[in-house]
Amino acid sequence: MSDEKIKVIPCSGIGKVFGLITREVALRVANELCPEDAETLCLSYVVTGDDEVKQKIEGHNCITIDGCATKCAAKNVAYAGGIIKDQYSATEAYKNHRGEYGGTATILTDAGWQMVDELSEKIADKIKNERGDKNNG
């Protein structure tokens, strides 16, 4: 159970740049930075609430990444019974780049990619640290 990959679930919002950032962060963490320790999961599965999906998430460790204050990822994962270990938001990545333009819901600018990379590394570091602690203990 403890060896199971942690689920990184973005809101992937389609309206604004923040949704794209969450999606790119999740893909970067799960596919590139921590492929051994993390995997991603479609939030839409969680929304439809099929039994099969519920099993995938209920009682499992999750990290949510949200694009706006509505916090769809965190809320939906919580409804489905997932354990939210950490919550992140794209706006927090944006705040370090005040006044810069991150892009749109489909294309990121260089500044936008920088935001993605910074948040991805922050999340990956946290995952690795926790895994490391577990393996040593």
């Binding site: 604004k16 740049v17 923040f18 694009g67 706006c68 204050a69 509505t70 706006t91 944006y94 705040k95 005040r98 333009y101 991150g102």
Partner: protein
């Protein structure tokens, strides 16, 4: 139930016409029914010290009989901050009451006094049933304007608006300030709140800091004149609360009002602001 003092009342007490007598009667009734204290305008002229303290203790209600506004002028002369003002002749016009010529009130005029008391009590009840820690209510009733998939909320009652899309919610001599849903939605996700300084004295239409999203910066234009007593500090960490609800947890600042009666001339009520916001929403390309 113990009722706290409601107002300090300064009536004109004019004995030259009926309107003055109504002002006097209103003050007396209010004092007995709400535990308010009266300042005698005649004695005040010669005995400052007795009344200055009372005047400062509770929100000041000034009741003028007619447009000469002797009581208002007296308050201004003494440097008092007016929380609320009533002019009997204007109220009579509003309520369609014809005032007579006798200095003794007739039946209609007494009913009119009672109606004015009822208005004030309704207002007081509103104040007392509100959130006890801050005095401001936590939730409101909204009119909703739909545009495509978006809904713009505007509180129906108790708010004063500006055409700069800011609002003031007034209780006694204090006001809470914020922006409307139009600002919140057109800015989209708000990332920064740069507040006004506590203690700063602002005039109506001065700025009270700004809020900023990835799209733009919005300067918060103050609807009222006064002194900043508080800012919503939770917004420094969580400015997104403005997006969630700019009238409730997303309020921006609190002020002690110093010139509200005059500020009101350029403030809009719901009926006037709502169509303006509708027009702005329609012209705004979401």
């Amino acid at each position: 139930m113990e009722m706290s003092k409601f107002y300090t009342v300064l009536p004109c007490n004019g004995l030259d016409k009926c309107a003055g007598c109504v002002a006097r009667e209103l003050a007396i009734k209010l004092a007995t029914e709400t535990n308010s204290e009266i300042i005698c305008p005649v004695l005040y002229r010669v005995a400052d010290s007795r009344y200055n303290e009372i005047a400062a203790k509770n929100p000041l209600l000034v009741i003028d009989g007619c447009a000469t506004r002797c009581a208002s002028k007296l308050a201004a002369e003494k440097g008092l901050k007016i929380a609320k003002k009533i002019t009997v002749t204007e109220e009579a016009k509003r309520k369609n009451v014809k005032l007579g010529t006798s200095l003794r009130l007739n039946e209609d005029e007494n009913l009119f006094v009672n109606a004015l008391i009822k208005d004030l009590l309704t207002e007081e009840k509103k104040i007392r049933t509100e959130d006890t820690t801050t005095g401001f209510p936590e939730t409101f009733e909204y009119e909703l304007y739909h545009k495509d998939k978006f809904i713009f909320r505007v509180p129906k009652e108790g708010f004063y608006y500006t055409e700069n899309d800011t609002w003031a919610y007034v209780i006694g001599n204090k006001a809470r300030i914020g922006v409307t849903d139009f600002v919140q939605k057109s800015l989209s996700d708000i990332l920064f709140f740069s507040p006004a300084t506590i203690g700063a004295e602002v005039e109506q239409f001065d700025d009270l800091g700004n809020i900023e999203s990835g799209k733009a910066v919005f300067e918060i234009i103050s609807p009222v004149t006064g002194k900043v007593t508080a800012i919503n500090e939770t917004l420094l960490e969580s400015p997104e609360l403005i997006n969630i609800n700019p009238y409730e947890k997303g309020w921006l600042a609190e002020l002690v009002l110093t010139n509200f009666e005059e500020d009101k001339e350029l403030l809009l009520d719901f009926d006037h602001y709502y169509p303006i916001m509708q027009r702005k929403v329609d012209e705004f390309d979401v």
